[in-house]
Each structure stands twice: as structure tokens, then as C-alpha cells.
Point group: C2
């Protein structure tokens, strides 16, 4: 773990990042469509070093399939006043082969809501980064510019 001297921020090792992605119930998928950023809450599972989500047709699928995406999970530990965030970056690939879709259907991936979501996207992680922060306590800790 690397801790900077300037701030109580800690970079997490890769295995800890993946453990937190696995445990997280909700993540957010950031996409680019026609140069515009967008962001979607998603359910996900981790499968062999990739993140799998399911989706309906629409902007999320169009912006993600075949394109670079960023996926984020975060959390806040009230007791220890620390927050953490993990970001997984990589290309999202839509699963189209029947074998791949059947494999994905075996994953414990429940959609956030129950509309029809027949498409599966797999994010092949090319970069995984995670940080923990000690949360600033209040006005006394807010610096002036």
C-alpha cells in the first residue's frame, strides 16, 4: 500500500479492489456516446477478472458495446470515517455467442429492476484502481484556496 504524505489517501492493492467490486451490490457504468459522457447505475458480477452486467437495449448498450467504459463502486465506513472507491476500466463487449450467453445466465446476476434485460456486457478489465480516504470531518478541515 502506498500512502502519500500530503493526504490520508491510500491506494489499494488489486486483490482488495476486486474483493470490494465483488461485494458491492450496485455499481455505476460510465460511457461515451457521440462524445457525451453518460452514467448508469447497474448490477454486476465479477467473473474471471471481468465485470458482467445485463442490460436492455438503449443508450447504455449503444454507449458501452465495443467501446471503452469505466465502472465504479464505492462505499463509506461510518465508524472509521473512511470512504473507498474502485474504478475498473476496459472495453465492454456484448456477449453474442450462445455459449457465452448461457454461461452468463449461470452467473448470480439479478437485474436492479425487473424489466426485460436480455443483453449481457462483459467489461474486460485493463486497469483496476482503488483508493481509501479518511473523510474530512467538517469546516475546520476545509482549506482556503
Amino acid at each position: 500500500m502506498a500512502t502519500t504524505t500530503e493526504t490520508p489517501m491510500t491506494e489499494m492493492p488489486r486483490h482488495e479492489c476486486w474483493a470490494l467490486v465483488r461485494e458491492a451490490v450496485v455499481g455505476r457504468l460510465a460511457t461515451v456516446l457521440d462524445g457525451q459522457p453518460d452514467i448508469f447505475p447497474v448490477n454486476h458480477v465479477v467473473d474471471h477478472g471481468s465485470v458482467v452486467i445485463r442490460t436492455a437495449k438503449g443508450a447504455k448498450l449503444m454507449g458501452a458495446a465495443g467501446h471503452p467504459v469505466a465502472f465504479e463502486v464505492d462505499g463509506y465506513d461510518v465508524e472509521h470515517r473512511s470512504a473507498w472507491s474502485v474504478v475498473v476500466k476496459g472495453r465492454a463487449v456484448e456477449l453474442t455467442r450462445l455459449d457465452d450467453v448461457l454461461d452468463a445466465m449461470e452467473l448470480p446476476l439479478f437485474p436492479w429492476h425487473s424489466s426485460s434485460k436480455p443483453h449481457f456486457l462483459r467489461i474486460e478489465a485493463s486497469e483496476v484502481t482503488g483508493r481509501r480516504f479518511v473523510v474530512a470531518g467538517g469546516a475546520d478541515e476545509v482549506e482556503t484556496p
Copy 2:
């Protein structure tokens, strides 16, 4: 409120979206830098129909300042098994005039961690959308493709 017949998803009116953004402790900022999406957890405040965040130098500032961004907050209501998400889209503008910076410093905007974050970004909202979902309960509700 508009409810589709296909899914227990409800679009929220604009005032309800803003109320949820105001209450949220943490949001996520999605940016595009060199065509690549990125996503950052941020603290924020709502000020006159815009979202204000503070940041250090770096990828977040570069990807956001002067560019379109998407900002998201979400939550989960365990008791009612409903989840919600609000997305604010617009151009992020870095505050550079002394008056604007001093005004922003008056906002109750505490940084998530206590490193130096002398830059303020204001997201002028051009689009605000929010949705509530009834969360799928388990395997019985997962459709086959």
C-alpha cells in the same frame, strides 16, 4: 409521474430529483478525456440549479472543466425494495473569478478527503433525470433472454 406498464420503474419529477441530489452525501462525476470515459466519486452541493464540486488538479479537472459531464447520485431503500438514481448532465465550468470562488467557498462543501482541493467546478444543469425502480427479488424474477 409516468409509470411504464412493462416495468415498475417510475420517472421522478424534476423537483424530486433535485431534492435527492441535495440530500446525497456522495455523487459520481463522469467525464471524457481523449475519448475515454472516467468516473470519480465526489462531494457536492446544489446551488441555484447547479451542482458545485471542488477538486485538485489532475484528470478530473482536465476532463471536466469546459466539457460536458454527467453527475449521478443513487440510493437504495431496503424497506421498500426500491432503488433510485438521478443523473444531471451539463457543461462543467471552472470558477476562476475571485468573486465566484469566494461565493463557492461559502457553500457547505466539505471535500471527501482532506488533500488540497483549491479548484471549484460548477455543473450548469441542462438535463436532470431521475428514476425509481422496484428491485427484483431474486432468481424467480430473472427472465431468460
